[in-house]
């Protein structure tokens, strides 16, 4: 190290890009050099220490967290974008496929009673019968902000019906498919999610609902708050009412009307894809998002696909939905293995390659048709 550094004063340290990079942790390569210089007992150690203190204080100030909710601000941005995109020509001129990829949503605003499609921005004041219906196609997901500020993440192949203005006494939406709700608190106006078989009532909370018409189960997973679930077709003599507590999951079997409550497993961290009966293999670097704590049930809204001990056919069914592909499993015995892991914003090829690495399977892709074999 250059001797002239021994004559540095605070401001000289600040002007030395290498020093600044070292203090900010941007340059691991030179850190040993600087550290040993500090330890060598230079005459201007105090100057260096003050420069370090100053740099850290400034960085801390520059990246101070905002004193309000970034999520709320983001919801406002999405809301503004949605209304802008609805009225812009962009909607009609882009090819449908591109639009699906881009906005991940087809929005049909059905004006009840009039029978024609009307695209409009903003909400009209006073009483209105306008109801919106949003359908998310395969391979996509989207976020919607409702009039009361509640947000809904709608998963692939799902439909949400909601009014442009909620009624005074109740906020009701209808769901087919899967959605994650963050409901704004409003003690006088319960929020109700109506599915084919259950009515879910909350005052203000976050929860996930999965109610696909082609699956026998309806799953409700609660993150916070309390929810009240009511079977629409209750057995005689049964109240049909169930209260769900945070971190609990309710599974209702449509065929039998049986309901099961289970505790949600802990954080579904970053387990690499692993086939059971083998050592779990690190098939890819740990997730970038590993410190984002996301529950199994709600992970899809962040573009993650988390699976725990799932058989290949269940797993591929989820891949089909998320990636809009058809998957055929050529060898039925492959279904005997179970898989645990996380896919995160990968392409379908990357996801399949990860699976191949974890167990001895192979795959072929032809357009949207995928075959998995031994």
């Amino acid at each position: 190290m250059n001797n002239s550094i021994d004559h540095y004063r605070i401001t000289d340290f600040l002007e030395d890009s290498g020093f600044v990079a070292w203090v900010n942790g941007n340059d691991p390569e030179t850190s040993a050099t600087w550290e040993s210089w500090m330890k060598s007992g230079p005459p201007n150690l105090d100057q260096a220490e003050q420069a370090i203190g100053l740099l850290r204080a400034m960085r801390q100030e520059g990246e101070r967290e905002v004193p309000f909710s970034k999520e709320d601000e983001f919801a406002k941005i999405l809301h503004r974008i949605m209304h802008r995109e609805l009225i812009s020509k962009d909607y009609g001129s882009t090819s449908l496929r591109k639009w699906l990829r881009v906005a991940a949503v087809i929005i049909l605003l059905l004006v009840s009673g009039t029978g024609y499609l009307l695209i409009r921005s903003g909400f009209s004041p006073g009483r209105t019968l306008t109801s919106h219906e949003i359908t998310v196609p395969k391979g996509s997901r989207t976020q919607i902000t409702l009039e009361d500020g509640s947000t809904v993440w709608l998963n692939a192949e799902s439909t949400l019906k909601y009014p442009s203005r909620f009624a005074r006494s109740v906020r009701q939406v209808e769901l087919t498919g899967e959605a994650y709700f963050t409901v704004t608190k409003s003690p006088d106006r319960p929020f109700v999610v109506l599915t084919s078989d259950v009515r879910i009532k909350v005052l203000g909370t976050s929860f996930n609902v999965k109610a696909y018409p082609n699956e026998d189960i309806i799953e409700t997973t609660l993150e916070s708050g309390l929810v009240n679930i009511e079977k629409i077709r209750a057995e005689k003599g049964e109240s049909g009412k169930i209260i769900l507590k945070p971190r609990q999951k309710l599974v209702l079997y449509k065929s039998t009307l049986n309901a099961e409550i289970t505790e949600v497993k802990d954080k579904a961290g970053t387990a690499p894809v692993a086939a059971e009966g083998r050592e779990p293999q690190e098939v890819r670097k740990p997730s970038l998002y590993s410190n984002y704590e996301t529950e199994l049930a709600t992970s899809w809204k962040d573009g993650k696909l988390i699976f725990r001990g799932e058989s290949l056919d269940l797993l591929t069914a989820r891949l089909e939905k998320s990636y809009n592909v058809n998957i055929r499993i050529a060898d039925p015995e492959l279904n005997q293995k179970t898989y645990t892991g996380t896919f995160e914003n990968e392409t379908i090829e990357q996801a399949l390659e990860a699976l191949c690495l974890a167990s001895d399977i192979k795959f072929t892709i032809e357009k949207n048709d995928i075959t998995i074999y031994k």
């Binding site: 850290r56 204080a57 400034m58 960085r59 520059g62 990246e63 101070r64 983001f74 995109e85 970038l288």
Partner: protein
């Protein structure tokens, strides 16, 4: 030095920024949100200093992200995401001033100066490791010109390099160096 605080820059390093940016340009909402969440704090910090108003900073950052989303397909590739976002926010703010949405308080704003305010004393006083010199130096920042303040802010508060600062402020590399050198020199003289 071992307990050195991990800065968010270190955490962000793990993200492949070009990939994030390309995904965003392809219209992937997760990438949009990720960029937003990663850089909101810094953008708000910068914006509220430029504008002297938190509510205006909020509004203009909303405008910025709406602009980014609607124009995503025509946006260029990027070298430094943070630098790019700062450049974009600065131009949103300058447009806002030009459009006369707000009276320009500082007469030299439009010539590239910003009505820039740095006040870190409170935070500094709160910290245990505070040394008198630090406090004094930071307080002295207020005596700098707006341009000097902004350059110092971008360099040290936001850890951007001279090249990026040049892009953001519309200055040549050497001018940025000189500006920072001059600012530090005048701080040193006060000590």
């Amino acid at each position: 030095m071992s307990e050195q605080r991990k800065t968010s820059d270190q955490r962000k390093k793990k993200v492949n920024e070009p990939f994030l940016w390309e995904s965003f340009k392809k219209g992937q909402s997760w990438a949009f949100k990720r960029i937003y969440m990663d850089y909101y704090d810094a953008l708000f910090n910068y914006g509220s200093r430029m504008l002297h108003s938190e509510s205006e900073a909020k509004d203009l950052i909303q405008d910025l992200f709406i602009r980014l989303w609607t124009r995503r397909r025509s946006l260029p590739g990027i070298r430094n995401l943070k630098g790019y976002l700062f450049t974009a926010l600065r131009s949103v703010i300058i447009d806002y001033f030009r459009a006369g949405s707000r009276q320009v308080v500082d007469s030299d704003f439009l010539s590239g100066h910003t009505n820039f305010n740095i006040s870190a004393e409170q935070e500094i006083i709160d910290r245990e490791t505070t040394k008198e010199t630090e406090t004094f130096l930071l307080q002295s920042l207020d005596s700098l010109s707006n341009r000097e303040k902004e350059a110092i802010y971008l360099r040290y508060y936001q850890n951007l390099d001279h090249k990026e600062i040049g892009r953001i402020m519309g200055l040549r590399y050497q001018s940025v160096r000189n500006l920072i050198h001059k600012a530090l020199r005048s701080l040193r003289e006060k000590m």
